[in-house]
């Protein structure tokens, strides 16, 4: 047996990096897919609507306060009543992007009958799921870059304002946080694609969770907060604030809220807190923070998002590694 081991060691080494082959193939599939086109179109339209309706207020803000630090970033954060701002749209629609690139990752290979052929090639088994995760992140990064370029470009042209270097670094920071946030949904979708035999089941399960968090999350948090700290017309400001604080804490169980906290701070240099901002406070502290301070403010939200993404992917990875080829 010993002579065999000495022969085989180099042979094993020459087969490293199979995940790159998987990732390259999957990324090409994503880029050519109609899914990518549709989602970029959908998110761009939503973003353009947000920027378009925000054009008035942004113009006013620019006229009113020439010392306002980051007019350009207003494109992504400012919005009139009822229309969510661009970064909020990404918070709502981003999960769709993640789910779209992950829900059929493993069960698609199973139902097509390509998985046994794939695992019989000289690659490690985990390289399949790793490659798919990397390809998904790549596709998300590409789609998001396209959407931001379209929306930012439109805004810059329409308003005639260009980004400063500080705006750009903040936009890049936002971009990275958004990728991590969407990758969390990608990891969730991949987990379901390992667990559910059918792609449709996995997609529905992932979308159900998305609905619960993005639509009903706020509702549930509100109900719970009201039950604990009941407020009515006679309540003191203190009581109202307690209620609001509790609601926010509950909402932070949702990745959606973590993303909002983090991007809200990153895109708005004058925001001093991820918590509840009382109007007086906002006016009281007009000075802009450097990016590093904004990152510190959002630190634990960023860590929680990263940990959630890694945790979900680890769950998908372990489940996949334990499954039989013919499950």
């Amino acid at each position: 047996m010993t002579h065999m081991a000495t022969i085989e060691a180099p042979a094993e080494r020459s087969f490293s990096g199979g995940w790159r082959v998987v990732a390259a193939k999957e990324f090409t599939d994503h880029v050519r897919s109609i899914r990518l086109v549709l989602l970029v179109a959908l998110m761009s339209l939503a973003g353009l609507a947000a920027v378009h309706s925000a054009a008035g207020p942004i113009g006013d803000a620019a006229d009113a306060a020439s010392q306002t630090p980051s007019i350009f970033l207003y494109l992504f954060t400012l919005s009139p009543e009822r229309v969510p701002a661009f970064h909020e749209f990404i918070g709502i629609l981003g999960p769709l992007l993640g789910v779209a690139f992950g829900f059929d990752a493993i069960n698609g290979e199973r139902s097509q009958g390509t998985l046994p052929r794939l695992v019989a090639q000289p690659i490690h088994r985990d390289e399949i799921i790793n490659g798919k995760f990397v390809a998904g992140i790549g596709a998300i990064a590409l789609a998001l870059a396209a959407v931001m370029a379209i929306v930012g470009g439109y805004g810059a042209l329409r308003l005639g304002i260009g980004p400063t270097w500080s705006d750009l670094t903040r936009a890049v920071a936002f971009y990275i946080v958004a990728i991590v946030y969407i990758s969390l949904w990608l990891a969730l979708a991949i987990l379901f694609s390992v667990l559910a035999r059918r792609a449709a089941t996995a997609a529905l399960a992932a979308l159900a969770i998305w609905l619960v968090f993005t639509l009903f999350g706020g509702l549930i948090a509100g109900v719970v907060a009201d039950a604990v700290h009941d407020v009515d017309a006679d309540s003191s400001a203190e009581q109202v604030l307690d209620n609001a604080r509790l609601e926010l804490q509950i909402r932070r169980l949702s990745p959606d809220q973590l993303y909002r906290d983090a991007t809200g701070v990153l895109l708005n240099p004058s925001r001093q807190s991820t918590g509840i901002v009382v109007t007086e406070q906002e006016g009281a502290l007009p000075s802009a923070l450097p990016l590093s301070d904004s990152l510190t403010l959002a630190w634990w939200q960023l860590m929680a998002l990263g940990a959630g993404t890694i945790g979900l992917f680890t769950a998908a990875y372990l489940t996949f590694m334990r499954q039989e080829v013919r499950a």
Binding site: M1, M4, A5, I7, E8, A11, E12, S14, F15, G18, V21, V22, A24, K25, Q112, G113, T114, P116, R117, L118, V119, A120, Q121, P122, I123, H124, E324, V325, R326
Partner: protein, 322 residues
Amino acid sequence: MNVSAPAIEALGLTKRYGDKLAVDGLTLEIERGEVFGLLGPNGAGKTTTILMLLGLTQRTAGSARVDGIDPARHPLAVKSRVGYLPDDVGFYDDMTARQNLRYTADLNRLDRRTAQDRIDRALEDVRLLDDADRKVGTYSRGMRQRLGVADALIKQPSILILDEPTVNIDPEGVRELLLTVERLRTDQQVTVVLSSHLLHQVQQVCDRIGIFVAGRLRACGTVDELASTLDDRWSFTVALSGVADPVALLCTVEGVRDVTRSEGRWSVSADRDIRTDLHAAVVDAGGRFEHLARDRADLDAIYHRYFQTEHAHDGSLARSTP
């Protein structure tokens, strides 16, 4: 590599899923250049055995060597030299045959030139070169199956494992596929392991056959060797001339149980070797033999025999469970 080693060796190979023994102590040796048929009904453990040989599933006990290498310890080395056509093979339907094979070549880290050469050659081997740039979604089942063989050939394997390659394809497709297997063996000296529950096909191309029932290898050998294990069966084919009533005459021989007519001859079954007595009886009656031979058990008989004992087993199990 290790040329002296057999292509495949298994010693006490066992796989247990929960309480169920899928493969129960398989011991087997397959020589280089051999076409070996793994014959057995569905659920007998054929695919599980193949997955263990490829290192795709953990064995519970026993050991295995494929091309002299332990698949549990060096799965990549084994997978780089064993071509595998899975049961119910699938392809990416929206990609062409060539693109599908290109992905396999990339996963085997072949450079562009080598990949192109091998893809062309493999497609030619399975007679799909003319359809190479069509999307696989438009392929018939037989074509997919042949593409599966081409896919397994991309890595220029020394061993080819085909799991149920002839299921669900039309007779012409089966013929094409078996011809391909024959060609590969003669032209490229590939060792072929072919699993099937269709005995006639296995018989056509295989040098040796292993009969696999309920996780155990019940018998193993050439068709002739397997037939000789059924020598408690005494049946003969007789053709006579110059005898007025052959049936009456044949029935006078002591030990004859039954006489039936088949294709112009007589099939005689008996409970002992009656050839000497039969000869005497016919000569006494003034007749002549056109033909007298003892029937060999064919694969059908072999297969049924092993399966019937298994069914008897099932029956007793069914009775014992309320």
